[in-house]
């Protein structure tokens, strides 16, 4: 059965800290791994990763994929209170469906 596992489930940090969120997966016919940020309602797209070892970066956020070890990390440096959200990892695998992990709930204290 395809699965996506995220850790930790929740995390509390102080502003300015750096955090690393983890995502491991076991799927057939891997196509891509996606990171989303979910605040109040809809997930918003952060990154799509398809190749190992190539870092994607957007401001203070960055992510990398390891297709051999079947995991990805999402790093957030110099965290701000606005980074507080649930971060979702999802894998597009065979066919058209995308499998989501349970998410990591990040709370950044001022």
């Amino acid at each position: 059965e395809d699965k996506v596992v995220q850790s930790p489930l929740s995390l509390v940090v102080h502003e300015g800290d750096t955090v690393t969120l983890n995502c491991s997966y076991e799927v057939t016919n891997f196509r891509s791994l996606l990171w989303y940020k979910q605040e109040k309602k809809a997930p918003t797209f952060l990154f799509m990763l398809t190749s190992s070892g190539i870092e994607k970066k957007s401001g203070r956020l960055s992510s990398i994929l390891d297709k051999k070890e079947l995991f990805s990390i999402l790093n957030i440096t110099a965290t701000q209170t606005g980074d507080s959200a649930v971060y979702l990892c999802a894998v597009s695998a065979g066919g058209f469906k995308t499998i989501f992990g349970a998410g990591t709930r990040l709370f950044v204290k001022a």
Partner: protein, 113 residues
């Protein structure tokens, strides 16, 4: 920035009733999806739709559910004979290609009482 629009934002219905959730995907997108998220749980895939037909569906998407693209812009999810456990946030999403990042709508919160 283009967005996926869902209506209504919140729907309350009685058990056993039929509901139709509506979505307007991004205009040049070709792939459409419905997902649901029961409160406190994972986002779950329901169905994908391409070229006017269902391309894939999950075990959740049984005979109670149907999707339709009645015109060139709308994409609907119909739930027949709703049950209490259908209460969830339903997200519509669309993408230009089939396997990469989606744009999600803001969701419809369905409450079955």
């Amino acid at each position: 920035e283009p967005e996926v629009t869902q209506t209504p934002s919140h729907q309350v219905t009685q058990m056993g009733q039929e509901v139709i959730l509506r979505c307007v995907p991004i205009s040049n997108h070709l792939y459409f999806y419905w997902y649901r998220q029961i409160l406190g749980q994972k986002v779950e895939f329901l169905v994908s739709f391409y070229n006017n037909e269902i391309s894939e569906k999950s075990e959740i998407f049984d005979d109670q559910f149907s999707v339709e693209r009645p015109d060139g812009s709308n994409f609907t999810l119909k739930i027949r004979s709703t049950k209490l456990e259908d209460s969830a946030m339903y997200f519509c999403a669309s993408s230009g290609t089939g396997h990469y990042g989606y744009t999600f709508g803001s969701g419809t919160r369905l409450t079955v009482v």
